[in-house]
Symmetry: C2
Subunit: 141 residues, 2 copies
């Protein structure tokens, strides 16, 4: 996987540096928020470099950004991960990743209909997950 990253960077005219490897590795197994990333990379990287790296990775589609505001998360894109979608629970805050082949098929139909050449897509469901809806906590607003 690291090799693949190196090649992709190379092809686009960039080099595989220490910081870039660190950021990539940090996201290897899960989607992280900005603060989680900063905590995880604590000391191994300057703040500015983290931003620059995320910007680059986003432009090169090495990562994808999901959610917004406090819920924004960075995760490896489908090229480095199996494609999936998200269930965001508003109570516990967990983000569950799901796969949904039927949706993929419908998206393909849609894309054809609109003559749209998709580079990526993402589906986000926001609501209350199974576990939380079984507990009695109130979703205070």
């Amino acid at each position: 996987m690291r090799e693949r990253l190196k090649i992709q960077l190379k092809l686009a005219g960039y080099s595989l540096t220490g910081p870039r490897q660190a950021v990539f590795a940090a996201m290897a197994d899960q989607a992280l928020s900005m603060s989680e990333l900063q905590a995880k990379l604590q000391g191994s990287l300057d703040r500015a470099s983290l931003y620059r790296t995320l910007l680059l990775f986003d432009r090169l589609q090495i990562i994808q950004i999901v959610g917004q505001g406090k819920n924004r998360r960075f995760e490896l894109s489908d090229h480095y991960n199996v494609h999936h979608h998200h269930l965001n629970c508003t109570r516990c805050g967990r983000v569950e990743t799901i796969e949904a082949p039927a949706i993929e098929r419908e998206i393909a139909v849609l894309v054809r209909k609109y003559g749209f050449a998709p580079a990526s897509h993402q589906l986000e469901l926001t609501g209350v997950c199974r576990e939380c809806s079984q507990s009695s906590t109130i979703d205070s607003f």
Copy 2:
């Protein structure tokens, strides 16, 4: 529509004020980014009030927030708008809204499968729209 907004605010214990009407009206016909909103509301509203209003509207589900980072946009929620999804063109930057009943059906299936109680959902396709893919511009990265 304004009447409906008034009623919804009332029910939740809030009043329909000038600033709130202004923000609502600004988004009436299209999804706007934060800076577009600020430009459009120039002078009629303080920055803090805009933030407070957007926060309130979001909590009350009067608006929904789509996209992230530079692409984040605020738009009236499905209660004030027909439910739709988005095609984001990376070349011309336009956001095309589309309706997709087949997708809605599949989402319902998914939701049942995962025991998830959805409050909202959004599908974003990113790529190149029909018009742009017919033109010869190069998508510089």
